[in-house]
Symmetry: C2
Subunit: 107 residues, 2 copies
C-alpha cells in the first residue's frame, strides 16, 4: 500500500509541473504571435517607403530598406520554427498528462 | 431661337466642366483617406516604440517620438478639414448640375 501512496504522491507533483509548463508554453505562443504580426506590419511599411522611414522620418537608403526587409523576414521564419517546437512539446505534455490522470484515478 | 441654341451650347460645356471637377474631387478624397490611414498607422507604431523606431530601427528619443505623434495628429486634422471643403464643393457642383440638366431638357 505504501508503494501506491508514493506513486500517487509523485503523480500529483508531476501533474502540477506539467500544468505549469503548459501554461508557460501558452504565454510564449502569445508572444511569438505578437512579434510575428509586428514584423509583418514593419515589412508592409518598409515596402511603401521611399527615401525615408514612413514612421519616424529617418533617412532610409534603398540598401538599408532591403536589409531590414530581409532581417525581419528571417526573424518571422525563426518565430515559426520556435512555434512548431512549442506545439510539439505541448502535445507530449498532454499525452503524459493523460497517463498521470489514469494513475490518480486509483486514489 | 439663336439665343436658345447658345444657352444650350453653354450648358453642355458647363456640364462637362462640372463632371470633370467632380471626378477630380473624388480622386483627392481617395488620396486624403489613404494619407489619413498611413498617419494613423504611424502613430500606432510610435506609441509602442521604445528608444528606437519599430520599422527602420533608427534611434528615437522620447522627445522626437512625441514631436512626431503631434505632427502626424495635426496633419490628420488638416486632412479632415480639406475633406470637408471638398464635400461642400461637391454638393454645390451637384446642385448646379441639376439646373444645367433642366436647361438641356429643352433641347
Ligand atoms: Zn523609422
Amino acid at each position: 500500500l505504501k508503494k501506491l501512496k508514493a506513486e500517487i504522491e509523485n503523480a500529483k507533483q508531476r501533474k502540477e509541473e506539467i500544468l505549469r509548463e503548459i501554461e508557460e508554453i501558452g504565454e510564449k505562443k502569445g508572444e511569438l504571435k505578437n512579434a510575428t504580426s509586428e514584423k509583418n506590419k514593419a515589412i508592409l511599411e518598409l515596402r511603401k517607403a521611399k527615401g525615408k522611414c514612413p514612421v519616424c522620418g529617418a533617412e532610409l537608403t534603398e540598401e538599408h530598406r532591403e536589409d531590414l526587409i530581409k532581417k525581419y523576414t528571417l526573424e518571422i521564419e525563426s518565430y515559426a520554427k520556435e512555434m512548431e517546437q512549442l506545439m510539439r512539446r505541448e502535445k507530449e505534455l498532454r499525452a503524459e498528462l493523460v497517463n498521470i490522470e489514469k494513475i490518480l484515478k486509483k486514489e
